[in-house]
């Protein structure tokens, strides 16, 4: 993928997250929407589509598959507003109806392009379990002082700016963001140097340090993309 394409996708995901937060979407529908988006562009060429329309349709489809009831009307209005901050609100009229129709059609197009396979196993639930175990493992003071859970959760969310979710298993991603979060806060698992089995292997048997490093470096690269974006 060329650099400029990577930047476009980054921008679109940013747009989707912004629209998503205005629509009060939870993490899972947002993760699903981003996964659908990345999967679609693995199979299709960017130049053939308007990525923002695809993004809006991904949001709409994800709300349905994740049982988050959001009206198509709201998705169209919010997406329009997010995209055109300087313009006035979208009035009911030809533009509104054609945008709405486009999102609806595009949603069906996405479904077909993905062979109707829109169920994904996300890292979120694994991360929740790992964090729970970790909280009991670490010294209570340390755990309370450091926002490890929050950092890990933010890293996970940011990882959706790239197609990471398509290339790695959800368990591996969850372990890696946890590893990364510990690094960020300059801390380690207690006694981890003395154990025969590494803590990450306790969570996920088949993970290796190489995999963790690969995932972390992909996340770091995506932060570089953000810095390259025109302000």
């Amino acid at each position: 993928m060329s650099n400029s394409e990577t930047r476009v996708h980054f921008r679109v995901i940013m747009f989707m997250f912004e629209a998503g937060s205005r629509l009060h979407l939870q993490s899972i529908p947002l993760a699903t929407a981003s996964t659908i988006y990345h999967k679609f562009f693995r199979l299709n060429q960017l130049q053939d589509y308007d990525p923002f329309l695809i993004g809006a349709a991904c949001l709409s489809l994800a709300c349905k598959t994740e049982e988050e009831s959001v009206r198509l009307r709201d998705i169209v209005n919010v997406c329009y507003r997010t995209l055109h901050k300087n313009k006035t609100q979208l009035e009911i009229g030809d533009t509104y109806w054609s945008l709405r129709e486009s999102v609806a059609r595009c949603e069906l197009y996405l479904l077909r392009a993905l062979e109707f396979k829109v169920q994904f196993d996300h890292p979120h639930k694994y991360l929740c379990h790992y964090l729970k175990s970790m909280s009991q493992w670490m010294e209570p003071n340390l755990w309370e002082d450091l926002p490890i859970a929050r950092t890990a959760w933010s890293l996970l969310r940011d990882s959706y700016h790239t197609g990471l979710c398509l290339d790695h298993s959800p368990e591996h991603i969850a372990v890696s963001v946890l590893y990364f979060a510990l690094l960020c806060h300059g801390t380690e698992m207690p006694f981890h140097k003395h154990t025969r089995k590494k803590w990450w292997q306790v969570f996920s048997e088949d993970i290796t340090l190489v995999i963790i490093q690969t995932i972390i470096s992909k996340i770091i690269t995506s932060y570089d993309v953000e810095n390259e974006l025109p302000r």
Binding site: S60, Y109, R112
Partner: protein, 371 residues
């Protein structure tokens, strides 16, 4: 956002065109579209195609269809209808550029409502056991996968010509969780709707499907739905007359349901499930299982696992395959295709789930009422 390019020119490499099948006949009407019998032009395999209606869809692809697809992709079991693939029809001027989608299923020759409405079809006790065992096995499987069917009725129970039973029509199905939920209670065809839904419960669970299973089990002997209410009120009255008055004594917590105080419930009714059904069902074990399935309090209603362990299935005569009995019938039997005399009342129960319809009095109702 730009608008979508010319729809009819797009290609879908992963979604086959419906023209690979030739339609043979319309065989039914599902929750969200028509069902056809069709044949693969190349392989000659016979399939059932269910059309996803999108004509009047304002919210894009219907969420009910999406749920059905998602659920069927996960559920793979001998007693669950098998989704083979999803097909599309091209957007053309004929369908006003609205393309349609078809769900393609393996074909089943009969549905239970069709079989029961044909007096030529006779089930022995051992064969009824086989039907119920497969039905409960299907329910056990979907419930273990955290799915509620929400539209149990004889017409949604398919049976192949070799006697394999398949639960079908997951158009109203959805995933459930064990925490507190607020689902719509406008589900399940009225005659098969359990008392908790009729009383406005929104935090319901797998027990709703077992009530329907009980109604279907009784129907194996009575040959027509046992409680044919015209309205929700009427349905509750029929239920009370069969299962006894609905009171907080027999059903703790029922008084907390939304409609408990707003609806008139017959008082002083004794539970007569076994007595009333005894005229049709002679087998004591069958009566006992029916009694457990048609339990008012959903918390006490038998679950599919315990139902499968019931003596009914483990004493002589043991469940027997339907293969032999069905081999005598060469014609497909579907409720939709059954002779109109019987079809009308079954086919148009006064209230379809999710649709508010005035209680229709049907003058052509030559339909035998059981209760």
């Amino acid at each position: 956002m730009a608008t979508m390019p010319k729809c009819e020119e797009l290609s879908y490499p992963f979604c086959p065109d419906e023209s690979k099948y030739e339609k043979l006949a319309k065989i039914g009407q599902g929750t969200f579209g028509e069902v056809f019998k069709a044949r693969d032009k190349k392989t000659k395999m016979v399939v059932a195609m269910k059309k996803v209606l999108m004509e009047n869809e304002k919210e894009g692809f219907p969420i009910t269809a999406l749920r059905e697809i998602k659920i069927l992709q996960v559920l793979k079991n001998d007693n669950i209808v098998n989704l083979l693939e999803i097909c599309r029809a091209k957007a053309t001027p004929y369908n006003r550029y609205k393309s349609t989608v078809y769900l393609v299923f393996e074909f089943c020759e009969h549905d239970l409502a069709g079989l029961l409405s044909n007096p030529q079809v006779k089930f022995s006790l051992a064969e009824i056991k086989k039907v119920m065992q497969q039905l409960l096995n299907g329910l056990y499987y979907i419930h273990s996968n955290k799915i509620l069917h929400r539209d149990m009725k004889a017409a949604n129970i398919l049976i192949t010509k070799t006697g394999k039973l398949k639960l079908a029509d997951f158009g109203l199905a959805r995933a459930f969780s064990d925490k507190l939920n607020r689902y719509t209670n406008r589900v399940v065809t009225l005659w098969y709707r359990p008392p908790e839904l009729l009383l406005g419960e929104r935090n319901y669970g797998p027990a709703i499907d077992l009530w329907g299973g009980g109604c279907i089990m009784a129907e194996m002997w009575t040959r027509s739905p046992i409680m044919q209410g015209n309205t929700e009120q009427h349905q509750l009255t029929l239920i009370s007359q069969l299962c006894g008055s609905i009171t907080p004594e027999t059903w703790p917590g029922v008084d907390k349901l939304d409609l408990f105080n707003k609806i008139e419930l017959p008082k002083g009714q004794k539970r007569k499930v076994k007595e009333r059904l005894h005229g049709y069902v002679k087998d004591q074990y069958a009566l006992d299982l029916l009694d457990k399935l048609l339990t008012l309090d959903p918390a006490k209603r038998v679950n599919s696992d315990d139902a499968l362990n019931h003596d009914f299935f483990w004493v002589d005569p043991l469940p027997q395959d339907l293969n032999h009995m069905l081999s005598r019938h060469s014609k497909s039997m579907f409720e939709y295709l059954a002779p109109p005399r019987r079809r009308v009342p079954i086919h148009q129960p006064p209230q379809q789930p999710g649709v508010v319809r005035p209680a229709a009095h049907n003058p052509d109702q030559h339909f035998e009422r059981i209760f």
